[in-house]
């Protein structure tokens, strides 16, 4: 198999056996930094993996290896947009959404902005969740939303902005064949004036 991959087994002897030992140690350390982060998160994860990660955090952080690699897992979910409505200094109103497929081009730019909506929406419970759950989650998402609001107000030159997250309904095949209309789930994220957003 090694020959297939373009290597020459006849030349595997090292002139520096000590160097080979050091290289082996470095490789093992690197492999630990590759394997342990996805073991340790996202949830569910074991206490053992979390403890193993602690001494590796400097290396994992330095080498940008702290990833979970759960692409489209456990299930592909619905997409999210953040919709905003802004009051301008002349009293007019302006609206938009993040991302906006008509404006956010090229596609990679769209995707980088799309991640803002996806990552914030992941922290926001549905509007009908228990109040305690919503209050606890607010501590996580509101500081991020304030930053987004400040960015939008500065970019558009507005006075106040109201944001809401939209979870786009994921229709079943039968619903698509029936060509019905689908209602998206909307969750308010609050209104932010310039002074509030810039705190």
């Amino acid at each position: 198999m090694r020959e297939d991959l373009g290597v020459d087994p006849a030349r595997s002897k090292s002139a520096f056996p000590g160097a080979r030992g050091c290289a082996s140690a470095a490789i093992l350390l690197y492999l630990a930094a590759v394997v342990v982060p996805p073991l340790a998160g996202p949830a569910p994860a074991s206490e053992l993996a979390s403890r193993l990660l602690q001494p590796l955090r400097p290396l994992v952080g330095t080498l940008f290896l702290g990833h979970g690699y759960r692409f489209f897992a456990p299930n592909p979910g619905p997409g999210h947009t953040i919709r905003w409505t802004m009051t301008m200094p002349d009293g007019s109103r302006k609206s938009g959404r993040i991302p906006d497929e008509a404006l956010d081009r090229p596609r990679l730019l769209y995707h980088r902005r799309f991640m803002v909506s996806e990552k914030i929406s992941a922290l926001v419970p549905p509007a009908d969740a228990p109040r305690e759950v919503r209050d606890r989650a607010r501590q996580d998402w509101q500081p991020l939303v304030k930053g987004v609001a400040a960015h939008l107000l500065q970019r558009e030159g507005g006075l106040q902005v109201t944001l809401e997250t939209v979870e786009h309904y994921l229709p079943e095949p039968a619903e698509v064949l029936g060509s019905g209309t689908f209602a998206d789930a909307v969750t308010p994220l609050g209104s932010y004036a310039w002074t509030e957003a810039s705190r």
Partner: protein, 344 residues
Amino acid sequence: MTHVRPAAALGSAAFDPGLARNAAEPARRGWLADWATAWNGFWFTPADPLPLAVIRIATGLILTWSCVVWLLDPDAFFGDRGWLRPDQVWRQNDQPWQWSVYFAASSATLIRVVAGVALVAAILLTIGLATPLAALVSFVGLVSAANRAPLNVFGLDDTLGMLLIPLIVGPAGARLSVDAALAGPGWGRAGGPSVRANVALRLLQVHLCVVYLFSGAGKLFGASWWEGTALWGAIANDRYRTLDLRGLAGHPLVVNALTLATLWWEVGYAALVWPRLTRRLWLAMAVLVHLGIGLAMGMMEFGLAMITANLAFVPAATFARLLRPVTSPLAALATSPGIRPDSP
């Protein structure tokens, strides 16, 4: 049988404790020696750096494009009034370990300088000029961007990081590069098989297996993957959609087959990409899956980056054969003896 391997001796002595005790010591040494031999053969056998050069060029092109896109809106991504305020970055990543040069870039000008340097480094990496430095600076640029703008990153950035570390470790500029063209006749040795090239390729191969293993294992939690409907979830998601495949709504068995093929390809990758009999099939599936994601879900850069990582499993001889129409005329025209035709 005149020679009995220690492991076999231990197995046959399993019913006799006394004999097992006597045989145990040499058996253990043999097993450990086998491990050491396998380890050394796997990591420290010299390899042709040609695959690494191809991976360098593909990675450099994708990274260059990513840098251009960061530069389309640098203040929004990296500025004080961007999508994520600097004092809130800790909410999205593991501070203080996740560093970024942008944390020290206090003005719009400095932000553009840092992003510009990252772009230049990515271009130099692509063409293979000052390759070791270009690879290192490209990595610093990638990580700085990802750690300063964690709200804007996704699998593409994880994959580019996975690709860049082997390019720093190995002789990525030894072939198909300006470095090789500019070097004197002595470069021939540097472009030959080396342990560093093998370590770099092995790091990428193993890392890629880890990525697919966890990605596949994560999917096993999801009912839609077992039910064979997960791909419908991707098809019906209009936020990702760049190719309308909703016509598959009337063909549930096709959706089932595509979903299950994707799941079991990913779950089996770490084991079945190594044997010669299954490697081509698994690599072909990788191309199909990632091109499919790229075309249908608008994530072509991510798809191409993952395909680039899969190139680590393509033999050097295959690249030499495929690139011969390009490299042979160049070698004939070159005045520098540093450019050599590829040998199969």
